[in-house]
């Protein structure tokens, strides 16, 4: 750690006697960066991060903040990890910014530790019991830096009994940035939370984040991670079904070209009986891009009636692209249904020929097939405006994508249905 003087000093200053944050920093310093011998980092080379002397969130202006267009949304803007009040809508009731000691992220990793240590502007979203938030909460994170910068962002969503909310996080990274977003979602009995994180980044930006979910009895949580761009895009999705009849739906769509790496480390723990979980992760890979997926399902003793479905699908657009998929099941209960499936392949040649045989040029057919592959994940996003926004970002990255209209490609999104 000796070479990381500025960074080490900045972290020390940041934790500033805060117990929880000191503990996180101590963990990070003790463990250091994991190597590929570490099970959770088997596919990801972290060496580019070694010895980097990051600055912690410098002063930045949100002069051209590129958020998503979500009608009716309350937008809260963070620039370089700092809240930008001028660029944000007034904070609704129950939403505040402050310190946070506790974390529901059970098994922390170095990136989560970094975030817990460095972030002193945690966004707290508390939805009171029986309250339904009318519009989506839109959290925009922008970080731009030529010098190495760590952007620690943290959001704690606490949905009280029988409440509901939709939260969208859009993260935009430009330049030499390591972003470590940690979002924790606690859903009390019968609460309903829709959460999506969309990440856009330039080719030198890293985003290594965590989404941790805890669902109590009869709660329903949908959480999606949609990484577009960025040199390395890693998402840890950790979920505990803690009360009977809870349901979590975890989805991901990663799109990568160049020499980028998309990684998903998924862990779902069924700790209560009769819970259901549905996990669907897809990657579209071109050039020499790589994707790695680790999907772990734990069924605790007594969690009978568990129904868990895990699917990972990869579409390779080039010979150089590569995907790894690793399901892990650990089951300590009877009367349990756990299924997992994984496929990796090229776009369907028969479908491609069918489309071309109707006069559609190869670039457009390729884009249509990628879109069709991705639609299964994108079509479930809430609010619906997010589907269109995500679609257009997807199409931006495809060779013939500019010829397609993101508002009408999806069967459900057809505005002029007869």
């Amino acid at each position: 750690m000796t070479t990381m003087t500025r960074f080490a000093d900045a972290l020390m200053a940041a934790v500033n006697g805060d117990e929880g944050r000191e503990a996180a920093l101590a963990r990070f310093n003790d463990r250091g960066w994991p190597t590929r011998r570490d099970e959770a980092f088997r596919y990801l080379d972290l060496r580019p991060l070694h010895g980097v002397d990051w600055a912690l969130s410098g002063a930045q202006r949100a002069d051209e903040c590129v958020g998503l267009e979500l009608p009716g949304a309350i937008t809260l803007v963070f620039v370089g990890g700092r809240f930008d009040e001028a660029a944000s809508d007034p904070m609704p009731e129950g939403v505040s910014i402050g310190n946070c000691h506790d974390s529901i992220a059970a098994d922390v990793d170095p990136f989560t530790d970094l975030c817990l240590a460095a972030c002193d502007q945690t966004l707290h979203i508390k939805i009171e019991a029986e309250v339904s938030l009318s519009g989506p909460l839109h959290i925009v994170h922008e970080t731009r830096s030529d010098e190495p910068m760590l952007s620690a962002q943290r959001c704690v969503i606490s949905a009280q009994a029988n409440s509901s909310c939709v939260v969208v996080e859009s993260i935009r990274l430009e330049g030499n940035v390591l972003c470590t977003p940690v979002t924790e979602i606690s859903a009390a009995p019968e609460a309903r939370v829709e959460f999506a994180r969309i990440i856009d980044g330039t080719e030198d930006a890293w985003c290594c984040g965590t989404i941790a979910v805890r669902a109590e009895a009869d709660a329903v949580v949908h959480a999606s991670a949609i990484p577009f761009g960025g040199c390395v895009n890693r998402t840890r999705l950790e979920s505990t079904l803690a009360g009977e009849h809870a349901h979590v739906d975890l989805r991901g769509l990663g799109v990568a070209g160049g020499n980028r790496h998309v990684e998903t480390v998924l862990s779902v723990r069924h700790a209560a009986p009769d819970c259901t979980s549905n996990m669907l992760f897809k990657h579209v890979l071109g050039d020499t891009a790589r994707a790695s997926f680790t999907g772990r399902i734990n069924v605790d003793e007594g969690a009978h009636g568990t129904d868990a479905v895990q699917t990972s699908r990869n579409m390779l657009l080039s010979d150089g692209a590569k995907a790894w998929s690793r399901p892990q099941l650990e089951i300590y209960a009877d009367d349990v249904k756990c299924t997992h499936g994984s496929t990796t392949g090229r776009p369907d040649a028969e479908a491609d020929f069918y489309l071309r045989a109707r006069g559609i040029d190869p670039g457009t057919t390729a884009s249509l097939l990628v879109w069709a592959f991705a639609a299964e994940v994108l079509d479930e996003l809430e609010p619906s405006a997010l589907r269109v926004q995500a679609a257009s970002r997807l199409l931006d990255q495809l060779p013939g994508g500019d010829k397609l209209d993101p508002t009408v490609v999806a069967p459900d999104a057809e505005p002029d249905a007869t």
Binding site: A351, F353, A357, I360, T418
Partner: protein, 254 residues
């Protein structure tokens, strides 16, 4: 100039020769039926014309309106006027039928120097032509062919044909898997599209379809070659005597 001219066409799949020298000339306005036993190369001929890269053309030439068809990619052939109705239309989950079809219609229109249709103009055309094959327009809100019944898939193929207005239509066993009512609907749709500037190749295993789509010429394909050609009465003769009658006979009749 003929609409379609096939000269000494040889084609292989995975190194096995399936078409062993096909000669066939189709004039605009005419309907040619190609019949033949299973494995004779009927569907191969359709797919070779449509530009399926699974098949390799090893010899011969195909001209569409005098243009070298074999030099064109599948999509270029479609824009130039070839339409193959698939024997097994492909299901493409996630792609809206309406979107796909508008993209196809506009690709063809642009090739013909016409302005693209907007959503309104496209829907008007859909409403006009869907009844030709008794197609439930709500099917177009679904993904391409997804969850369509066998009959719906075939009707959708003929509907697409009506929308794209090709000059050269190739129907690959459009009758397979259809009951008699669906067969009549599909045949009516095809007959409505018959016109003096459009040619048809109707590929079928059974004579039944030809009772409804009456051909001007019938060709019998045996082992990758046209073994016999004749008028529509040849189809009835085949129905009566079976393919073995030709397979055992001389290489070429009339």
């Amino acid at each position: 100039m003929s609409l379609l001219e096939i000269r000494n066409l040889h084609a292989t799949v995975e190194g096995v020769e399936i078409l062993k020298g096909i000669d066939l000339t189709i004039e605009a306005g005419s309907v040619h039926s190609i019949m033949g036993p299973n494995g004779s190369g009927k569907s191969t001929l359709a797919k070779v014309l449509a530009g399926d890269e699974v098949y390799e053309v090893t010899e011969g030439a195909v001209l569409l309106d005098g243009e070298d068809l074999l030099e064109m990619e599948a999509d270029e052939r479609a824009r130039s006027g070839i339409f193959m109705a698939f024997q097994y239309p492909v299901e493409i989950p996630g792609v809206s039928t309406k979107y796909f079809l508008r993209a196809a219609v506009n690709a063809v229109r642009s090739h013909r120097g016409l302005d693209p249709l907007d959503a309104v103009g496209f829907l008007k055309m859909v409403k006009e032509r869907a009844p030709m094959v008794d197609l439930d327009p709500t099917l177009l809100d679904r993904s391409v062919n997804e969850g369509f019944s066998g009959g719906e898939k075939k009707r959708a193929e003929v509907f697409q044909m009506a929308m794209l207005e090709p000059s050269m239509c190739v129907l690959d066993e459009t009758d397979s898997g259809l009951d008699i009512d669906a067969l009549k609907v599909v045949a009516d749709g095809v007959n409505a599209l018959r016109s003096p500037d459009r040619g048809f190749v109707v590929i079928t295993h059974y004579q039944r379809l030809l009772e409804y789509i009456v051909p001007d010429h019938v060709h019998v394909l045996v082992d990758g070659r046209i073994a016999r050609s004749g008028g529509k009465e040849l189809a009835f003769e085949l129905e009566e005597k079976g393919y073995s009658w030709i397979e055992q006979g001389s290489a070429c009749g009339c």
